[in-house]
Amino acid sequence: MTFDSSLLQSLLFQSVNGFASASGLFLVAAGLSIIFGVTRIVNMAHGSFYMLGLYGAVTLAPRLGAVLGPDLGYWAAVACAALGVAVLGALVEVVLLRRIYGAPELYQLLATFALLLVISDAVLWLWGPEDILGPRAPGLSGAVELLGRNLPRYDVFLALAGPAVLAGLHLLLARSRFGRLIRAATQDREMVAALGINEALLFTAVFALGAGIAGLGGALQMAREPANLAIDLSVLGDAFVVVVVGGMGSIRGAYVAAVLVAQVKALCIALGTVEIGALAFNLSRLTLVAEFLIMALVLVVRPHGLFGRPQAAIPHRGTSEAPLRPLGRPARLALLAGLALLALLPLAEGTFPYAPVLALDMLIAVLFAASLHFIMGPGGMDSFGHAAYFGLGAYGAALAATALGAPTPVALLAGIGVAAAGAVLFGWFCVRLEGVYLAMLTLAFAQIVWSVAFQWEEVTGGSNGLFGVWPDWPFDSRAGLYLAALVLVALALLAIRRMVFAPFGLALRACRDSSLRAEALGIPVARVRWLAFALAGTMCGAAGGLYAFAKGSISPEAISVSRSIDGLVMVLLGGVESLAGPVLGATTLTFLKDNVMRETDYWRALLGALILAVVLVAPGGIAGALRRLRFRAGRAP
C-alpha cells in the first residue's frame, strides 16, 4: 500500500465517518456515566434501555407517521421512545433499585443483570423474533458530497447530535440547580443527604435521565440499523469501555473516549490489509477487540481514565461486614458427612443417571465461583474478567491433551500453569487499581485473551475451538471424572479456607478494609493483593481444565463476558460476605439454569425473575439470608 493523496483523502473521509459512530457510542455511554457517577450503580440493563428505545421508535414511527405525517411522525417517535424509556427508568429505580441501596455494593449490579434478562425476553414476547427495519429519517435520507465521496446526511446529523447532547448536558450540569445537585452527589453523596436534599427524588431523576439518553441513542439508530434482540449486550460492552476510558462520571471524558474508540476502529477498517514485509495482516479483524485494547492501554497509563478523578471512598451504606469465623466442630462434621455422601453419588447412577453429570457441572461452577470469591470477598477486588483464567486453564489443558498428547493429570496441570502465568501477568497491572477501574481492567484483559483465542485459528481452533479433549482412563467414565473433580474441588476449597484464616488471609483482609493502615503495619499491600490474584487465577484454571475434559471440547465462549458475569452472579447470589456463599450461589445457579431451561421458552425471564426475587428477599445473598435466619432463631425467646 502506498501513501498517496487518495489514501490520505480516504483516511480523512473515514475520520468524518468516525464522528458519526462516536455520537452513537457517546449517547449510550453518557447515561451510564451519569448513573454511575451519582448512584454508583453499574447498570447492566443500560443496553436494554437502548434496545427499548430502538424498538419503541421503530414501532411508533409508522403509527405516529399516519397521524402526523411521515416527517413529524419520525421525530415524534424518536422523542416519545426516549421519554418512554426515561419513564421506565424512573419506574425501575422506584420499584426495584430503591429497595436495595442498603445492600452491599454490586448487589445493584445483580439486580440490573436480572432486569436485562427479563427485558430481553419481554422484547422477544412483545415484538417477536424477526428483525424490524425502521423508516429512514425524512429530509436526511440522501448524501452530501465531500472529498469526492458521498457522506450520508444522517451521518452528518448524528455527528452533530453527539456534541449537541454533550453541550446540553454540560449546561444542565453547570448551570441548573439539578445539575449542581448531581455534581455534588457525584462527589459526596452523604453530604448531599445531610444537607436535606431529597436523595430519593434525585436518584430517581438521575436514573430516568440516564435511561432516557440511552433510549434516545437507540431511537436515533432507527435510520441505520434494524431493531434486533442482540443489541442490548453488544452495546453494553462498548458503553462500559467508553465510560471507563473517559473516566467514570465524566461526560466530557465519555465524548472524548467515544471519539477515540470510533476513530481507531474507522482507521483499522480504512487501512484494511496491511503488508509489513512478507506478513499480511488484515487490520479490519482488529475491530473485534480494538476498544478493549484501548481500554487496557489507557487504564495502565492512567488508572482513572482520561478525565476521571480518584474515586472518593464511599462508606458502605449497609452495615459493615462482619469478620469471618472459622467453622465449629459440628459444622466440620456435617461437612465431612456431606462430602462422604457426595462421594457415594455415582452409586445412584442406576436411578439418577443424570446426577453425576449435573453434579460435575456444579463442582466446576463451585470452583470457578470460589476462586472468584477469594479475590472479591476477602480480597475486596471485584473482577469482571475472571473467565480469562478459566479459559486459559481450559485451553492450556486442551492443547496439552490434544496437540502434545499429555495424559489427563499432566494436561490439567499444564492448564493450571497457563492460567497461573496469565494471572501473575495480568494481576501485576490490575492490583494497582481500585474499585470499578480494577474490575474493568480485568474485563479488558479477559476480552484480549478471548480475542486471541477467537482469532488464532491454527492453535486455538478459532471461533469453533478445540475438540476431542476427552480424559483418559480412569477419568473417561462419568463417575471417574466426577470423583476426581470432587477431590480436586474439596482440596481447593480447603486450601481457600486455610489461606483466609492464615496470616496471609488476615493481611489480605486488612488490605481490603484499609490499605493505608495495612501499609502502616508493614504489610506490602500490592504484593499481598498480587499473590491473592495469582492464586485465584490458578484455582480458576483448574476449574477451566476440568471443564474442558468434562465437555470434550473448548471454545472461546468459555472466556466470554457472559461467563465472567455468570461468575459474578454466582458469588453475589450466594453472598459475598461468607465463604459458603460461592458454593451456595454456584450450585443454585447451575441447578436453576438446568431446570429453568427445560421448563419454558422464556427461561431467561424466569431466571431473571428468580434472581430478582433473591435480591429483594435476601439482599446479601443466600448465605446472608441463612445467617440472618439463624441469628433471629438464636434471639427468639
Binding site: 458521498n150 435510520a223 440499523e225 484494511g272 479490519s284 475491530t287 439454569k593
Partner: protein, 406 residues
C-alpha cells in the same frame, strides 16, 4: 425492626418450587421412538421458531400414518443455551435421563461440533440439522454424526458458476469475523482463483458479528473500487450494510454475490429495500414447482396459517430423515442406524436426496437466484435448484479430508 417480607414463608415457597422442578420425570413406557432434539432456541429465535414448527409437522404426519413399524415418534426438545458447555450437558441429560434413541438439532457451528464430539465419544447417533461448518463432516467428522444442511463449502460452490460468468477482475470480500465467514471467504477465493487465475482481491473486510460499523466498512470497500463483491453478512449486519450502500450511492456498478441472503429469515426484514440484482442462495418458497414442495407448502400453511421459512424446511427434513433411517435400520441401535444412514435416500421438501456414505453429508441442495423487489418485498427471481451432490467433492477427495472418522 420492620420485616417487609415474611422470610420463612418465601423460603419455604422457593424450596417447594425447586423440589417440584428438580423431580425426575417418570420414564415412559419403551414404546415410542424418542428423538432428543436440542437447539439454540433462545439465541436464534427467528430461524428456530419456524424450524420447530417444521419438525412438529413432520412428527404429526408420521404419527398420523401409524408411526414407524407401529411405534409413534416422540419429540423431546431442549434449549442448548447457545453454547457448547451447556449443549453437552443437555445432550447428556437427553441421553441419560430421558433415554432418547437419537440426538438431533443444533444451529451454531461450535455447538454442533461439540455435540458431534460427544456423540462420537459416547457412541450416540447424532443428526446435525443446521450447523454449516465444513469441519463437522470433514476434518472433525466422526462415525456417529451426519449433517443435513448444505455446508458452507457447498453454499459457496453453488454461487461459483454465476461469479465466474460475471467475468469481473477486482473483487472485494466482506464477511463476519468468525469461522463461518472466514471459511466462506477462503473457499470463495480458492475456487474463484482456480476458475479465473487473473482475478484480484482488492479489499477484505472481516467485521465483528452483529456489530458491523456499516459506514466505514462500505466506504472502505467503495474506496478500493471493486467491480464485484462477495458478501457473507447476514441478519442485522446485512440490513445495515444494504442501507448504507444505498445511502452512500456506493457500489452502483458492482456485481454482488451473497450467501444465504435469499432466505426469508434474512430477506424479509429488508422489505422494499432488498438489494435488487444480487445473486444469492436462498429459499424462494413462492416460486418452487417441485411436487414434494407443493405438498409440504400446503400442509404447512394449513397447519400454521403462515408461509414456511428455510428453518421450517430444515426441521421437517430432519424428522423425515430420522424416520427414514430408523425404518431402514429396523431398529434404533446406533451402529445399525449409522449403517442405514450411509447411502440413505430421503424425500424432503426439495425432492429426493441422499446421505453420502463417504462424508455423512446430505445432498439436499439450495436455490440460487437474483434478488428483485415485488409488491414491496424482496424476492428471488428465476430461482434454480442446485443439487447438493453437484457441488460436493468426490468420495475419494473427501476421504483425505476426514482423518478423524471411524
Amino acid at each position: 425492626m420492620r420485616h417487609p417480607y415474611p422470610l420463612r414463608t418465601v423460603f419455604a415457597g422457593v424450596v417447594l418450587m425447586l423440589a417440584a422442578m428438580g423431580a425426575a420425570r417418570p420414564s415412559q413406557a419403551a414404546d415410542p421412538i424418542r428423538i432428543g432434539e436440542l437447539n439454540s432456541y433462545k439465541s436464534q429465535p427467528a430461524f428456530l421458531g419456524p424450524y420447530r414448527q417444521g419438525m412438529q409437522l413432520a412428527v404429526d404426519e408420521i404419527n398420523a400414518a401409524g408411526g414407524i413399524d407401529g411405534r409413534p415418534l416422540e419429540l423431546i426438545s431442549r434449549d442448548d443455551g447457545g453454547n457448547p458447555g451447556d449443549a453437552v450437558r443437555v445432550a447428556e441429560e437427553l441421553v441419560t435421563r430421558e433415554r432418547v434413541d437419537v440426538l438431533a438439532g443444533t444451529f451454531l457451528s461450535h455447538v454442533g461440533l461439540a455435540v458431534a464430539g460427544y456423540a462420537g465419544k459416547r457412541k450416540v447417533f447424532f443428526l446435525a440439522a443446521e450447523p454449516l461448518t465444513d469441519k463437522i463432516t470433514w476434518s472433525d467428522g466422526n462415525r456417529y454424526t451426519f449433517r443435513l444442511r448444505a455446508s458452507t463449502y457447498m453454499q459457496v460452490a453453488m454461487l461459483m458458476p454465476e461469479a465466474v460468468a460475471a467475468k469481473r477482475k477486482r473483487w472485494a470480500l466482506v464477511y463476519p469475523n468468525y469461522e463461518y465467514g472466514q471459511s466462506a471467504a477462503e473457499t470463495f477465493k480458492k475456487l474463484l482463483k482456480q476458475a479465473q487465475p487473473d482475478v484480484e482481491f482488492v479489499a477484505e473486510q472481516a467485521t465483528p458479528l452483529g456489530k458491523l460499523d456499516a459506514g466505514p466498512v462500505v466506504q472502505a470497500i467503495a474506496d478500493a473500487r471493486p467491480d464485484a463483491v462477495f458478501n457473507v453478512l447476514f441478519g442485522p449486519d446485512l440490513a445495515r450494510f444494504v442501507r448504507e450502500i444505498d445511502n452512500r450511492g456506493a457500489l452502483k456498478d458492482a456485481f454482488v454475490v451473497s450467501l444465504l441472503s435469499g432466505e426469508p429469515e434474512y430477506l424479509d426484514p429488508l422489505k422494499g429495500e432488498a438489494p435488487a440484482g444480487w445473486v444469492v442462495t436462498g429459499y424462494p418458497w413462492y416460486a418452487i414447482d417441485i411436487p414434494a414442495h407443493k405438498a409440504f407448502l400446503d400442509a404447512y400453511r394449513k397447519a400454521y396459517d403462515d408461509y414456511p421459512r428455510l428453518g421450517s424446511v430444515v426441521g421437517y427434513a430432519t424428522i423425515k430423515s430420522l424416520a427414514a433411517g430408523i425404518a431402514k435400520a429396523g431398529s434404533t441401535d446406533p451402529e445399525k442406524l449409522v449403517e442405514a444412514f450411509e447411502g440413505l435416500e430421503v424425500v424432503g421438501p426439495f425432492g429426493p436426496f441422499t446421505y453420502r456414505a463417504s462424508d455423512h453429508q446430505a445432498t439436499m441442495g439450495a436455490f440460487v437466484g437474483t434478488l428483485g423487489v415485488k409488491d414491496g418485498g424482496g424476492v428471488m427471481l428465476d430461482p434454480k435448484y442446485v443439487d447438493g451432490l453437484s457441488v460436493l467433492p468426490s468420495d475419494a477427495e473427501v476421504k483425505a479430508l476426514r482423518p478423524a472418522s471411524d
